[in-house]
């Protein structure tokens, strides 16, 4: 990819940022027998070229549904997908299936969580990689195979020719996850969405895969949306972080600021939920209560029943996003006057 994108260094913006994805007021609602489930509710964010944006949150916060909505994988109807998702000037919401296929898998690709279930056990991994190349790239089969093997080599898969003709069951989870990364890379996409790419892996393998993803990030200068529940891995890979809770983004921050100066009580709760060595022999700090079910969301701020600093206002009125510092956003009434400490 072009050298100009090298301008963007971690943490600080250069003047020539190139915005490639803008999501505004995205709503993804599902109709269920229990009622309307607001999985993603008025979420807005953007992604610049060459950066890693982490979407962090616990189960049911809407982080995966956000990804699926961007990729047009939420079927609407029956689901309700509203708002605006603009990718390089193209509006993705309402885009026809044929046009979407030009973008999905080619310009925006996805790495899924469970490598063992994301591959078809009946075909060799080479065949499955070839399918991607055939669908999106103008290469003939010989060229495609050569390029696939090059990609496998680039991500340090030993003996790529042999691996090409193996079946998924012949490989370990870590190896398959690397193959899936290769699959996402074949088309040189502009955006890679990685949904919990290391959650199913062991720590030593997780370290290898995260290192690989960072290396590729540096070499290819693509952008990445990194979805995870694990703040530890966020600290290792992200440039900016958006924290989600119950379908809303509650905090937006550059990664260093998020860890050193969290603004939202939920972010603070997540950071203090880390099991630190100092706590040995004591009770661990924790967030009271449980994540609300998507069909029983509380009134007002969705975090208020668990929030140690909830005020009367929080119980009735949903907080908008305040920006008490440059490059920061926080949806919490504490910051309405500019200082919530």
């Amino acid at each position: 990819m072009s050298a100009s994108s090298k301008l963007i260094e971690r943490g600080e913006r250069s003047e020539r940022v190139e915005r490639i994805l803008t999501v505004e007021n995205l709503k993804t609602y599902f109709r269920t027998p229990e009622g309307l489930v607001k999985a993603v509710d008025e979420v807005s964010f953007h992604l610049d070229r060459g950066e890693v944006l982490a979407l962090v949150g616990e189960s049911g916060c809407g982080k995966s549904v956000t990804a699926l909505s961007i990729l047009g994988l939420v079927k609407s109807p029956p689901a309700l997908v509203e708002g605006s998702i603009e990718f390089r000037g193209t509006q993705l919401i309402g885009l026809g299936p044929k046009e979407y296929r030009e973008i999905r898998g080619r310009q925006i690709s996805m790495i899924f969580q469970e490598p063992m279930s994301a591959f078809d056990p009946l075909y060799t991994v080479g065949y499955q990689l070839m399918e991607v190349a055939r669908a999106h790239m103008p290469w003939d089969d010989a060229e495609a195979k050569a390029r696939i093997i090059d990609t496998l080599r680039a991500i340090h898969i030993p003996d790529p020719e042999k691996r090409y003709s193996e079946y998924p069951h012949e490989m370990s989870g870590g190896m398959l996850q690397r193959i899936m990364i290769a699959m996402a890379l074949i088309t040189s996409p502009e955006i890679i969405i990685a949904d919990e790419p290391t959650t199913a892996l062991d720590v030593t393998i997780q370290a290898q895969v995260l290192n690989l993803m960072q290396e590729l990030q540096r070499d290819y200068h693509g952008s990445m949306i990194f979805i995870t529940h694990d703040l530890g891995t966020v600290a290792e890979v992200a440039d900016r972080v958006h924290v989600m809770y119950a379908g809303k983004i509650v905090e937006k921050a550059p990664v260093v600021e998020l860890f050193e100066d969290p603004l939202h009580p939920y972010t603070l709760g997540l950071l203090t939920s880390r099991v630190k060595r100092e706590y040995k022999g004591e009770s661990l700090p924790f967030i009271e209560g449980n994540v609300p079910r998507a069909d029983e969301l509380p009134e007002g701020c969705r975090f208020h029943p668990r929030c140690p600093r909830a005020m009367d206002k929080c119980r009735t009125l949903e907080p908008p996003e305040f920006s008490p510092r440059p490059n920061r956003g926080v949806a919490c009434w504490l910051w309405e006057e500019g200082d919530g400490r």
Partner: protein, 337 residues
């Protein structure tokens, strides 16, 4: 007081194939594991998937029959029983009541068609704790309160609860018969981070109250450290290192333990450390383990002997055992000097 002593425990699973399902190989899940459980003490077992930590837990509760080795059970009256082969009838009821288990996934471990009352009543009724059903129901209500739920929840079904609440129910069921040993196999891995700490605190509180022993199996080093008095590090069915928790964390002796600790993310974006992790490769298959030390193909400090001889565990400090040729050499040199 001792509850369990495990010596040289081995568990091999046969691999059968062909029309006649002949045994064509073995999955060597456990190779020569020693373990002692004292009353009130928590032993943590840590290792990556396939290291045999769950097999160890399940062999100890007698879900699996060991292939070789011995398991000795000390009952509450101080009698000693050899329970390596099966469970002799005279200890069966005592042992089954005395040793309980909490499983990883509370979505699978609770029967969706039973009410919470029936789920918790099941072990109570099996062991005939109460003659009067009303008293038993009151006891169930008390247990629910103890694990941080409401007695009214007894009438509900598992699907009405979140993951953390279900794990509380599973814990209530396990402690209902007042076991002296509770085996927790990844009890917080399926839970959200904000809920994980609640469950850990609950287990610690219950242990303080009842003085039961815990075997805490997890892949999460920080959680194991918090829970345990003593930690065992496993790799491919072998115990590579075992030490008091603080000693293991302050002075990890085995190269694998060191690598495992280095691979834990820093939580500090100013100091990203995973780039420095130099551990290559993946754990080998337990069907065809490498000769010598199981860790040698990935070990950055490999010696010539490592691919030939499995190192014996040596005591590098009091109660701190490590099975590594490099460490053994160092220790021997120090002892001479």
């Amino acid at each position: 007081m001792k509850i369990l002593a495990v010596r040289n425990l081995k568990k091999y699973f046969p691999i059968r194939s062909g029309v006649f399902l002949q045994v064509t190989g073995w999955v060597r899940a456990l190779q020569a594991v020693d373990l002692d459980i004292e009353q009130g003490v928590t032993v943590g077992i840590v290792g990556e998937s396939g290291c045999g930590k769950s097999t160890l837990g399940r062999t100890i509760v007698k879900i699996y029959e060991p292939t070789a080795g011995s398991i000795t059970y000390h009952d509450p009256d101080g009698h000693v029983h050899d329970i390596t082969r099966g469970l002799p009838r005279k200890v069966r009821a005592t042992f089954r009541r005395d040793v309980q288990m909490v499983f990883q996934n509370p979505y699978d471990s609770l029967d969706p068609r039973m009410t919470i009352r029936d789920i918790i009543r099941e072990p109570i009724d099996t062991h005939r704790l109460f003659a009067d059903s009303k008293v038993a129901d009151e006891y169930v209500g008390g247990l629910l309160t103890k694990v941080g739920l409401y007695p009214e929840y007894a009438r509900r079904y598992p699907h009405e609860f979140s993951g953390g609440q279900r794990q509380r129910i599973a814990i209530a069921r396990a402690i209902s018969v007042k076991p002296r040993l509770l085996i927790c196999d990844e009890p917080t891995s399926a839970l959200d981070v904000s809920v994980q700490s609640q469950i850990i605190n609950l287990l610690k509180d219950l242990q303080r109250e009842t003085n039961m022993s815990l075997i805490f199996i997890s892949h999460n080093l920080d959680v194991v450290y918090h829970m345990s008095d003593r930690i065992i590090v496993m790799y491919l069915g072998h115990v590579l290192e075992s030490a008091p928790s603080h000693a293991l964390f302050d002075r990890p002796a085995h190269p694998y333990t060191q690598a495992l600790m280095a691979a834990v993310p820093s939580w500090n974006p100013r100091y990203r450390k995973l780039g420095e992790v130099k551990l290559e490769g993946e754990p080998p298959s337990p069907i065809n383990p490498p000769p010598g030390c199981p860790f040698h193909p990935r070990c950055p400090h490999r010696l010539d002997v490592c691919d030939r001889v499995m190192p014996e565990a040596v005591e590098v400090a009091p109660a701190h055992l490590c099975a590594c040729h490099l460490v053994a050499d160092d220790t021997a040199r120090k002892a001479k000097a």
